[in-house]
């Protein structure tokens, strides 16, 4: 994570970005990063509540769980994982560029990160569409059907619990997708600021804390992917 960059801006010329209630850029930077870490802690508790409830139901209904896991498409999940990991790399490179004061590189990496973020959402969209067509969306009447099919001849017995598990799947990935969307919005904001030449090696706090947020959203996915798509998946990977 960030160590403080050695510049001290306490004397006569102070950065126009130093907010009046702070004594130094260093204090401002440290406060912003601590603030973002605390915020991410609250996000862990938020997702944690959902993960916890999901785990409880999964352990209560192992049969239903095995059945629902057959409907998850690990190909989509894997693609999304790859996209996010690469986007975290480009985000880290963006932060590094900001630190070095390389404006062009910063903008390039921000754009790439954003593209990967949007790619994630598009892939997710395809995945949700597949579930919609397959009638695996319990939230909407008419798009939930868990009766026996040729491909899955024994699943009707699990319909009721599968509904709960699928709800959790949509909530967990849905809340995650919302966070990704917010992340893309943040990228646009930071990019706009970068294009106005605001960042330099003396001041790049918003890039730093956006990076933290982005990495966090990535990490949540890193937990979601194996939990929802890999563990106990009774279906062979393509």
């Amino acid at each position: 994570m960030a160590d403080s960059h050695g510049v001290v801006a306490e004397h006569a010329e102070h950065s126009p970005y130093l907010r009046h209630h702070f004594d130094s850029m260093e204090q401002q930077f440290d406060s912003a990063t601590l603030g973002m870490w605390v915020f991410l802690l609250t996000e862990i508790m938020f997702f944690g509540g959902m993960f916890g409830a999901y785990t409880v139901y999964r352990s209560m209904y192992p049969g239903a769980f095995a059945s629902t896991s057959m409907h998850m498409n690990p190909a989509f999940g894997a693609a999304n994982t790859a996209v996010l990991i690469v986007s975290s790399l480009t985000m880290a490179l963006a932060v590094r560029s900001a630190r070095l004061g390389s404006q062009k590189a910063l903008q390039l990496f921000l754009v790439l990160t954003m593209i990967f973020g949007i790619a994630f959402l598009v892939i997710k969209g395809f995945e949700y569409h597949e579930h919609w067509v397959d009638d695996k969306v319990p939230l909407f009447a008419g798009h939930w059907d868990y009766s026996n099919t040729k491909e899955f001849p024994h699943q009707a017995q699990y319909a009721k619990q599968a509904q709960i598990l699928f709800c959790f799947y949509f909530f967990m990935t849905g809340f995650h997708a919302v966070h990704m969307l917010v992340g893309v919005g943040i990228m646009i904001t930071i990019l706009t600021m970068a294009r106005r030449g605001i960042f330099s090696h003396k001041y790049f706090t918003p890039v730093e804390i956006s990076g933290l947020y982005w990495h966090f959203v990535d990490i949540v996915w890193i937990f979601l992917f194996p939990l929802l798509y890999l563990i106990g998946n009774a279906r062979k990977l393509i």
């Binding site: 802690l41 508790m45 619990q161 909530f171």
Partner: protein
């Protein structure tokens, strides 16, 4: 008694109140002090709304029959009373008002770490309050503030989602306040203000902030799931399709138990400021009071199951929760003993803040001890879900928290407004609050043990006499609340000027003007002494009892 320093009335020094005028300068302010004032106004309004519901409840309960309003309406009264009081008064109260105002000043900072997030926090509070008020105006909610499923998720025909959204939104306000406080205390202390010199009010708010940040997201997701269940008619907590209503309770209480510590810890912080000041003596056991705040915050996360002893939870889980609940009582007891010991060989004055502190110490002791009845498994089986519980939590929340809030408001009113409130009326109101409160809630311990269940619109006739006493007490208590509202507003225009330090108190806030300047200090402070250093500088005798 307090003496007001002579300050020239004519030329008012520039301060945060007169630095800018106009509604825009208030609604778009970044000054933590102005934001605190905005919160004071908002939560006072919500308090009186919650109070109106309380009055309606007490009037209905004068008679055993449900004859004032019908059952559905009564059920909405107690639900709205709970939701408004818990989420829109008690949780924000001291942190968002006195904490916002004084935490930066007490540590020698110019503002909180994130002033715009502070303002956002207030906006979010207002948005949440609007949803809650909408739920009331549209027709109300009748699930109880605890939203137990499957009643709330499937059976209730009221505006559950609207209310849940209001609470969800208000939760973010709480999270952001906590986040702001944590970063501020870590990063913005003035030179010389070490952790060991922090005023205990700061320690209390810091511990509270930890709970706010860790606990609130869990209730957010819990209520979100209930809302989604209702909206989409899917079953997460619905047993008919294999959902578990007890899972809801675990998730709900995982936050809502620590939430009660969010409510009480700041109040304890206020008492820790008032008692040394009006004993004119350093607090006894500083490290233990600071440590106990953290201890309560941490252990408070481990005891939620004590709300669920009769749900059929496993025996071993019940044993564990009972034991841990006994443990969490210890740090609270330690605080009470330390405050009392502070008074020993002190120089006690009876100003209104101190009267509220006396009340707090006594009533919180009763409230806390009756909590032990509830923590004790065999007894809890009998008294849970009765008026005993209602009495217990009102003793700690009103007898404790509200008294601390009133005490803190009186203590710091001169600093916030630059004016003194009228001491005579203030003492009278404090006595009314104390007497009215006890008359309202003590009888409820008795009716609870005798078997009167809570949330009952009509009750068995043998409980009537005690209920009438309770309602009588409530009217006295209500009067005790209204009187300060009146004289404090009056004092804004007609109160005597307060001067920098009417109480001769220690603390950085008393070294700046009343009201303080916008950036809190004319020159940034450097701290050289411990908190509560009331002994005069010339005599450095410090006796340590070992």
């Amino acid at each position: 008694m307090s003496t007001a320093l002579q300050t020239p009335e004519v030329a008012e020094s520039p301060n945060y109140l007169n630095s800018e005028y106009g509604w825009r300068s208030w609604l778009f302010t970044k000054d933590h002090k102005r934001i605190a004032v905005l919160y004071i106004i908002s939560i006072t309004v919500m308090f009186f709304i919650g109070g109106i519901f309380a009055s309606l409840i007490r009037v209905e309960l004068l008679t055993p029959q449900g004859d004032l309003v019908n059952s559905d309406t009564y059920n909405k009264f107690f639900t709205m009373h709970g939701i408004v009081m818990v989420f829109f008064f008690l949780i924000p109260s001291i942190p968002a008002t006195l904490g916002n105002f004084f935490l930066p000043i007490q540590i020698g900072a110019k503002d909180l770490a994130f002033p715009r997030i502070n303002l956002l926090s207030w906006y979010i509070y207002i948005a949440g309050a609007i949803f809650a008020l909408a739920a009331i105006v549209l027709g109300g909610v009748d699930t109880g503030w605890t939203f137990y499923t499957p009643f709330s998720s499937t059976y209730s025909n009221t505006f559950v989602i609207t209310a849940a959204v209001g609470v969800f939104i208000a939760g973010f306000s709480s999270i952001l306040t906590g986040l702001n406080f944590i970063v501020t205390v870590h990063k913005m202390r003035a030179p010389g203000m070490t952790w060991g010199r922090l005023p205990l009010f700061v320690w209390a708010n810091y511990a509270t902030s930890l709970i706010q940040v860790l606990g609130t997201p869990v209730v957010a997701i819990t209520l979100a799931l209930v809302g989604l269940e209702r909206a989409f008619h899917i079953g997460i907590f619905d047993p008919a399709i294999g959902g578990d209503p007890i899972l809801f309770q675990h998730m709900f209480w995982f936050y809502s138990h620590p939430a009660v510590y969010i409510m009480i810890l700041p109040g304890m912080g206020v008492i820790s400021e008032i008692v040394p000041c009006f004993s004119r003596k350093s607090i006894f056991g500083y490290p233990f009071i600071a440590g106990s705040s953290l201890g309560i915050a941490i252990i408070g996360f481990l005891v939620w199951g004590h709300h669920m002893f009769v749900t059929g939870m496993s025996m071993y889980a019940s044993l564990y929760f009972s034991l841990l609940t006994m443990l969490v009582a210890v740090p609270s007891a330690v605080k009470v003993f330390n405050w009392t010991a502070t008074m020993f060989r002190g120089s006690i004055s009876y100003d209104t803040p101190m009267l509220y502190a006396f009340g707090f110490i006594g009533l919180f002791t009763i409230g806390g001890l009756t909590g032990l009845f509830l923590a004790t498994l065999g007894v809890d089986v009998h008294v849970t879900d009765t008026y005993f519980v209602v009495a217990h939590f009102h003793y700690v929340m009103v007898g404790g928290m509200v008294l601390a809030y009133l005490g803190g408001m009186h203590f710091w009113w001169p600093k916030i407004t630059g004016k003194l409130y009228p001491e005579g009326w203030a003492r009278f109101a404090a006595l009314l609050v104390f007497a009215g409160f006890n008359l309202t809630f003590f009888p409820q311990f008795i009716t609870g043990y005798l078997g009167q269940p809570r949330r009952y619109h009509a009750y068995a006739p043998e409980f009537q006499v005690l209920n009438v006493m309770s309602t009588a007490g409530a009217s006295v208590l209500g009067l005790g609340y209204v009187i300060p509202l009146i004289y404090m507003l009056w004092s804004l225009k007609y109160g005597k000027p307060a001067g920098n330090n009417p109480w001769k108190a220690k603390g950085l806030e008393w070294e700046t003007s009343s009201p303080p300047p916008t950036f809190n200090f004319d020159t940034p402070p450097v701290v050289t002494e411990d908190a509560y250093a009331y002994a005069s500088e010339s005599s450095h005798e410090e006796s340590h009892h070992g």
